[in-house]
Symmetry: C2
Subunit: 488 residues, 2 copies
C-alpha cells in the first residue's frame, strides 16, 4: 500500500501541472470580462501614431499592411470605430488629447498657421493643465516619449507640462530646414523635388528633457529607440504608478524604417513603417506582461489625425472614410482606436462616439484627481463603456478647422456648415448644411439634408448652445520669427 506522502505528492503535482497547463491554455485566449469587484487599473499608456489613417491597420481593413500585434490587441480589447481626434492636424490634435479641451479654447489652433513651426515663438500655455499634470497630482511617474509639437522652447516642453521625463523630437519630423514651410505651395513643391531625398534635409533635433542630444535625429532607428526608452520607463517604474505618453513621430513623412523592417512590407515603405510600429506595440505589451503589469494597466492606441493623402503612396489610407489629414470630412478626424486592459476591459467592438479629449477626464476620474473647474473641459468619462459595457456618454462631436466650426455630429448625424480642400483655398459654405447619417453612410456620400430639416434644426440648437458658452483662447500659433505665417 502506498503511503500518504506518495498520494500527497501526486495531488500536489496535479495541482501544479494544472496551473501550468491552464496558464498556457489561457495565454492566447480572450480576456476575462471586467466585473465591478475588480480593482481599477492604475497605469496608463497612450500610444499615438502620426498621420496614420482609419484604414491602415489589418483589423481596420488594410489588405497588405500586416499588423498582427495591433490586430490581437483589438481582439483582446475594445476596438472603437467612431473615435475622433480634436483636430485634423498635429499641433491642435495633440493639445486636445493632453488638455481634454477643444484647441480653440487654449489658442492651439489658428486661422493663420495650422500647426507650430520651428520658428514659432510660443506653445501650449503654461496655464493649461495636461493629463500628465493630473497624474502628477496622484503621485504618478510620467514620461513623454516621441513627438511633442506643442512648443519647442523650454517653457513649453513636456518637462514644463507635467512630465518627469522627455525623450523625442519637439515638432514634426519633416520640419527644419524651415525654408519650404513659408507657404504650403513651397512645401508641396519641395516635397516633389530631389532635395528631400537627401536624408540630411531633415534637421529635426532629438531631445532628452530640455537638451538637444542629436541633430539631425537619426530617424531610421527612432521608432525602435522610442520603444526601448518606453520599455525602460516601464521597468524602472514597475513598483510605482505611471503614465506614459508614447507619441511615435511616424508614419508622418519623411518615412524611415529600421533595417529589420525596411523593404519587408508588401505595402512598401509606408507599410514597413506601420509594421515597425505594430511590432513596437507588441514589445510594449510584452514588457507589461513580463513585469506583471498587464492586469493593472490601460493601453490606448490611436493616431493624431487622418492620412496625408497628398503624399500619395507615402501617405496612408482612411479606408472607407472620405478625405484625410487636414479635412473635416471623417477621414481627417476619425481614427483607429484600441483600448486594452485584459483584466478590466472585455473584448468588444464599440460603435459609441469617443474622442482623445475623453482620455483626460476618464483617466483623471480613475485616479481620483478632480477635473479642473476653472475652465471648460470637453472630455467626458468613458469608464461606463470601457469597464461596464454600457452606452457611452458622448452624443456630439465638433469638427473645428482653425477657430471655426466646419461640421458638427449629433448622434448618428453630421452637418457640414463649411467644407474646404484640406490644403486648398476652396471654401464652400452650406446653408442648409450638408447632412449625413454616419452610421448608415460612413463614407459621407448621400446628403440627406432635404429630408431632415428637423435634424438640422436640432444640430443648430446644439451649435447655438455651444457657441453661447465659447470663450476662445488667444491664438498662440500666430507668433513666429520674421512674421512668416503660412497655413500648412
Amino acid at each position: 500500500m502506498k503511503t500518504q506522502a506518495f498520494y500527497l505528492k501526486i495531488i500536489s503535482t496535479l495541482l501544479a501541472v494544472g496551473s501550468i497547463v491552464l496558464w498556457n491554455a489561457c495565454t492566447p485566449s480572450h480576456a476575462a470580462p471586467a466585473s465591478p469587484g475588480n480593482a481599477k487599473p492604475y497605469n496608463f499608456i497612450i500610444i499615438f501614431a502620426d498621420d496614420m489613417g482609419y484604414g491602415d491597420l489589418g483589423v481596420y481593413g488594410h489588405p497588405t499592411i500586416r499588423t498582427p500585434h495591433l490586430d490581437q490587441m483589438a481582439v483582446e480589447g475594445q476596438k472603437w470605430t467612431n473615435f475622433y481626434v480634436g483636430a485634423s492636424v498635429c499641433t491642435p490634435s495633440r493639445a486636445a488629447l493632453l488638455t481634454g479641451r477643444l484647441p480653440v479654447r487654449n489658442g492651439m489652433t489658428s486661422s493663420v498657421n495650422r500647426v507650430l513651426f520651428p520658428d514659432s515663438q510660443r506653445g501650449l500655455p503654461e496655464s493649461e493643465v495636461t493629463i500628465a499634470d493630473q497624474m502628477k497630482k496622484a503621485g504618478y511617474a510620467t514620461a513623454c516619449i516621441g513627438k511633442w509639437h506643442l512648443g519647442h522652447k523650454q517653457q513649453y516642453l513636456p518637462t514644463s507640462h507635467g512630465f518627469d521625463y522627455y525623450y523625442g523630437i519637439p515638432y514634426s519630423n519633416d520640419m527644419d530646414n524651415i525654408i519650404p514651410f513659408r507657404s504650403p505651395t513651397g512645401y508641396f513643391e519641395f516635397w516633389k523635388s530631389e532635395a528631400r531625398k537627401d536624408i540630411n534635409t531633415f534637421n529635426v533635433p532629438l531631445m532628452r528633457n530640455t537638451e538637444i542630444i542629436e541633430r539631425p535625429a537619426e530617424q531610421h532607428t527612432i521608432t525602435r529607440r522610442y520603444t526601448e526608452e518606453s520599455i525602460n520607463f516601464i521597468k524602472n517604474n514597475k513598483n510605482k504608478s505611471f503614465f506614459l505618453y508614447l507619441a511615435y513621430n511616424l508614419p508622418h513623412v519623411p518615412l524611415f524604417a529600421s533595417q529589420d523592417f525596411e523593404g519587408k512590407s508588401p505595402r512598401g515603405l509606408y507599410g514597413d513603417v506601420v509594421e515597425e510600429i505594430d511590432d513596437s506595440v507588441g514589445k510594449i505589451l510584452a514588457s507589461l506582461k513580463e513585469n506583471g503589469l498587464d492586469n493593472n494597466t490601460v493601453v490606448v492606441f490611436t493616431s493624431d489625425n487622418g492620412p496625408w493623402l497628398v503624399m500619395n503612396e507615402e501617405g496612408g489610407s482612411a479606408g472607407l472614410l472620405r478625405d484625410g489629414k487636414g479635412s473635416t470630412w471623417e477621414g481627417g478626424m476619425r481614427e483607429p482606436c484600441i483600448f486594452w486592459s485584459p483584466k478590466h476591459i472585455k473584448p468588444a467592438v464599440i460603435t459609441d462616439i469617443g474622442t482623445t479629449m475623453d482620455l483626460f477626464t476618464t483617466f483623471s476620474n480613475l485616479v481620483g484627481v478632480p477635473i479642473p473647474n476653472d475652465r471648460v473641459i470637453d472630455g467626458l468619462d468613458l469608464s461606463s463603456v470601457l469597464f461596464e459595457g454600457k452606452a457611452g456618454p458622448r452624443k456630439d462631436m465638433f469638427y473645428y478647422r482653425g477657430d471655426k466650426i466646419y461640421a458638427v455630429r449629433v448622434g448618428d448625424y453630421k452637418a457640414h456648415f463649411i467644407t474646404q480642400d484640406p490644403y486648398g483655398p476652396n471654401i464652400e459654405e452650406h446653408d442648409p448644411p450638408l447632412l449625413y447619417n454616419l452610421n448608415v453612410d460612413p463614407s459621407e456620400k448621400y446628403d440627406i439634408a432635404a429630408d431632415h430639416p428637423d435634424i438640422i434644426q436640432q444640430i443648430n440648437e446644439v451649435v447655438k448652445a455651444h457657441n453661447a458658452k465659447m470663450v476662445k483662447g488667444e491664438d498662440q500659433l500666430q507668433y513666429r520669427d520674421n512674421n512668416s505665417n503660412t497655413n500648412k
Copy 2:
C-alpha cells in the same frame, strides 16, 4: 491516516476537474496549428453572400456593421485579403466558383446579357463538371441551399449538376416581375419608383429540388430558412462526408431581414441583413461543433461580387477598394474571404492571391478525385497556403467583362487594358494600359505605367500566352424568350 481510496478519489476528481476547466479555458482560444501529421479535413462548406463588398465586415473595416461571428471566424482561421471572384456579376461568378473555370470558357458570360434572367432559355451546360460532381465521385452527400442563378430550367438546376438536394431561389431575388429588366435603364428607373416598395413586386419562386414550393418566396425569413435547412443537412449527414454550398441571396437588393434583426443595425437595413447572415454563420459553426464536425470540416465564407454601389445606402461598401459590382476595378471582384478549420488551418492573414475557382481544384485534390483533363481548369490548389503556411501557387488573375479581358494582375501589378462604368456605356481603351501596384496602392489611385514598361511587357506576355490557348464556349446567356436582350 486516510485510505488509499480517499486519495484515489481526490486524484480522479482533480483529473476530471482539470479536464473540464481546461476545456472551458480553451474554448474561445485560438486553434491548434495544423501539422502534417493531421488527417485531412473531409467535409466542405462554402458560404456565399450576394453583392456583399470587401468593406462590409467588421474585420474588413466596416465601422457599424457588427459581425462578431465572422470576425471570430477570421481570428480563428485565415483571413484572405487578395481573394477574387471569377466575374463582377452573379451568373458568371457562380459558374466560376462551381466549375473552377473562367466563365468565358463555358459560355456563362456574354457581351449581350451580363447574367441569366427569368426568361433565359439556357443555363450552365450539362457538360460542365461542378465541385458537387467531383464530390459525388468521392461518395459525398451534396446540397445546394440558396441562390442558384445558373439556369432555372430542370436540366440546369443544382439537381442536374451534382447536388443531391436543392432548396432556394433559381435566380436573383429582384427578378420577376421581369418587365423592368428589358434594359438597364428601365431597371434602374424601376428601382427609384414606388412600385418596388411593394413586396409583391418581387415574384421570385422558392424551390425544393425541381419543384416550386412558394411564390413569391417570403424573403423576410429566407436567410433564417436557408440556415435551418443547412443545419438539418449537416445533422443528417454527420456520419457521412458532405459538401454544402450555401449561397445566401442577400444582401442583394431588395433587402429583407427577419423580425429579430430588422431595425437593429446602426448601419440600417443593409446592416440588419449582413448581421443576420453573420448570425447564421455563427449558427452553422455552432452546429458543426455540436455534431463534433468542427475538426473535420473546412468552411469558406466569401461573396459573389462587389457591392452594388448604385443602390446607395441599400448597396454595400468596397472599403478602400475602387468601384464595385459590375466593374473590373478591385471593388468589383475582390472579396472578403475567410477559411476556417480549427484543427487544420492555422490563424493567419493571407496576402497571397486566391480565387473562388481555386476551391474546385483544392477540394478535388483533398478528396483525391482527379481534375478533369479534357478541358482547361483555371483553379489552382491552395492547400500549401491553407495547411502548410507556404506561399500560394497563384501569380495571376484575369478580370474579364463578358468575353473580353479588361484587366490582368500578375504578381503585385495590375494592368487595365479597358475600363468602363459598371453600368454605363463609357468604354475607354488604354494603350499603354493603366498600371497599378495593388499591394502598395490597393485603391488603384496612382497609375505607374510610365515608369514600368518592363512590367507592362511582362503582363502582355502573360496575356498573349493566355489568349493563345483560349477556346471560348458558346455564349449561353444570349438565348432569351422574345429575343429581349439587355445588359444589366
